[in-house]
């Protein structure tokens, strides 16, 4: 009941912030909201666009949920997404002659592994060498972006055309599409399955419980005779794996190649998605779909107005401040009423 109430308040708050933002930029709020709404869910193309935008956000949002729950401030989702896409594109050189039923899953697993190893390194540095994850993942983001630029200009560059991108993935190896007119692909359904898996792992397994416990109270974890460090490295690996999978899904489902512009900030935007979803897998998925829709709607808004999807991060930032501020206010009120007894 409390969770449902929170969801309702957050959702209403998000709409309110959107409306105020539109008004502050001088737009007719009613007309702009209806344009965004129609752009996001008003047609088959709109719904497809919303879900395609939401897909990478679901994966990366889940990644942030797992890491932050374990007390690991993974800010490196972007680098892990890029490394996932790169690992998948590299693997594609090997598996392109294989049967699609084996090759495509292999590409997804490869992407997840690429992101997982990259993030696990940061986790290992934290546990073994005392390097804060916040700092190391920030640094590794820069390294990943430069590595991407290097790869698409060198070892992975398409042999013809002189453009900075990898060879296009054969259509047979792409994720399934259901409609000729839209980009909607089966990656969205994979994302939904992963939401369930992550939720079961975190709330219904011993390992998941220990991981959450390590984040909530590392000293108590040590006292309960399990090493929080191991769980934290594992949390980073899973988190990076999910971000890497996001990169691989965008590569095999939507884009079909990895190029200079591959980094679209999905790993960075995942942080507010996870926070607004209350660091809960289902909540994060909900927030991802909301922001996917907002992205899609604002892209349509941009066709007729001078402002567009750049307002999405603004809304996310203000919403995070609003939500954590509200939570603290409620806590203080509860504490005060307890103190008065």
């Amino acid at each position: 009941m409390k969770g449902a109430l929170r969801t309702l308040i957050v959702f209403a708050g998000l709409i309110l912030i959107l409306a105020i933002t539109l008004a502050l930029f001088g737009l007719d709020v009613g007309a702009a909201l209806s344009t965004i709404w129609n752009g996001a869910v008003g047609s088959k193309a709109g719904i497809a666009r919303s879900l395609v935008r939401a897909t990478p956000l679901i994966f990366t949002g889940l990644g942030m949920v797992v890491a932050w729950r374990a007390g690991m401030y993974n800010i490196g989702g972007e680098g892990q997404y890029v490394m996932g896409g790169l690992a998948s594109a590299t693997l594609a050189l090997v598996v392109r002659s294989w049967a699609p039923a084996i090759a495509t899953p292999a590409l997804l697993v490869g992407g997840a592994l690429g992101g997982a190893l990259f993030a696990a390194f940061a986790g290992w540095l934290h546990v073994k060498r005392g390097v804060q994850v916040v700092i190391s993942t920030i640094l590794l983001n820069f390294v990943a972006i430069e590595f991407l630029k290097f790869c698409v200009r060198g070892p992975l560059q398409k042999s013809s055309g002189g453009i900075f991108q990898t060879e296009a993935l054969p259509n047979t190896l792409m994720l399934q599409r259901f409609d000729r007119q839209t980009d909607f692909h089966s990656g969205f359904f994979l994302a939904l399955i992963v939401v369930v898996i992550v939720a079961i792992y975190l709330y219904r397994t011993k390992s998941g419980f220990q991981m959450r416990f390590s984040g909530a109270n590392p000293d108590a974890a040590r006292a309960s005779r399990f090493e929080p460090g191991k769980k934290q490295i594992l949390a980073m690996a899973i988190s990076g794996g999910l971000c890497g999978l996001a990169g691989a899904v965008d590569y095999t489902g939507l884009i079909g190649f990895v190029g200079d512009g591959f980094s679209q900030d999905w790993g960075f935007l995942a942080i507010p998605v996870a926070l607004l979803g209350n660091l809960n897998p289902v909540g994060a998925a909900g927030a991802a779909v909301y922001f996917g829709g907002l992205f899609a709607g604002c892209e349509v808004l941009q066709r007729s107005e001078p402002i567009g999807d750049t307002i999405v991060p603004l809304i996310q930032g203000v919403a995070v401040l609003g939500v954590v501020g509200m939570q603290r206010w409620l806590e203080n009120r509860t504490n005060q009423s307890k103190g008065a007894d």
């Binding site: 390097v131 630029k149 942080i271 750049t310 401040l321 603290r328």
Partner: protein
């Protein structure tokens, strides 16, 4: 000499931001929102300078904008003791969203090269660059040679001790936050108004995060932090130098070197005892 000046100019934004961040981290605050404060200051200063035709007014409003953001952040992280990483991330998101939207609304989606008035005062020197080294000396002196600095550092290690000595831990953190925001503002202003005379969407391009890394790289000592920041400026200029002489080495390697180097230092030094013990830990006075 010309090359040295260029290195100094390239590294000035990161140096300035890192200096403010050093003060903040010494008091126990990690400012993940540094990037957003720089970006906002960069935008506001160019906008005001272009419209008013006065670079100094631009400088002032840019710094003021960063200070306002810093105070909003302090409200959440210091007064309400909410997680600093969460709030900093939110500040960054709001800043990138706000500046991009305003810039696109004012100058169109493709952006536009503005021609803001210049900050130069003596030939090719400008006031921020001239003051860079004195700023660092002043910060070093204030942090390590005054009672205020001692209390501030104590707040970053063990806030209860600072409180017991009669200082207000929260008060000191507010002061550190203010100093950090002013320097973040100067850094952003220098990037846009000082170097480019224009603004571009997301023009800070991660420099705020680089500055945070440089504080760690410089082991929380202002002059070492300056040295680390200059090294990054050097690597950046090296990349252009080598690009023009076509050495055969990939230029991306040179862009990645500062980050790899910073990471390597952190790995080698490991769990240093020099990091402030209460870094990123909110302080709440026990009753």
């Amino acid at each position: 000499m010309e090359i040295l000046l260029n290195i100094l100019r390239f590294s000035a934004p990161v140096s300035l931001a890192a200096m403010g961040e050093t003060v903040g981290q010494k008091s126990g605050l990690i400012n993940i929102g540094l990037e957003g404060m720089m970006l906002t200051a960069a935008y506001v200063s160019v906008e005001v300078a272009t419209r008013s035709g006065n670079a100094w007014l631009g400088l002032l409003s840019g710094v003021l904008a960063a200070v306002v953001m810093g105070l909003v952040q302090a409200l959440f992280t210091i007064k309400w003791a909410i997680d600093q990483v969460v709030i900093g991330t939110a500040i960054n998101l709001a800043a990138i969203g706000l500046t991009s939207t305003l810039f696109e609304a004012n100058y169109g989606g493709a952006g536009k090269l503005l021609d803001a008035p210049s900050l130069l005062i003596a030939g090719k020197y400008d006031v921020i660059l001239i003051l860079l080294i004195p700023f660092f000396l002043a910060v070093t002196w204030a942090l390590f040679r005054t009672n205020w600095g001692l209390a501030l550092r104590a707040t970053g290690e063990y806030p209860d001790a600072a409180e017991a000595a009669g200082f207000s831990a929260q008060g000191l953190r507010y002061q550190a936050q203010l100093i950090g925001a002013i320097f973040a503002g100067l850094a952003g202003v220098y990037l846009s108004l000082g170097i480019a005379s224009s603004f571009a969407i997301n023009m800070t391009a991660g420099r705020g995060f680089v500055a945070i890394a440089m504080v760690t790289f410089g082991r929380w000592k202002p002059l070492w932090v300056l040295g680390a920041s200059l090294l990054v400026g050097f690597a950046e200029s090296l990349q252009y130098l080598l690009q023009s002489t076509s050495s055969g080495l990939p230029p991306q390697l040179f862009k990645a070197i500062p980050y790899l180097l910073a990471l390597a230092v952190l790995i080698v030094v490991g769990r240093g005892t020099v990091a402030p013990a209460s870094l990123a830990v909110p302080y709440r006075r026990s009753k």
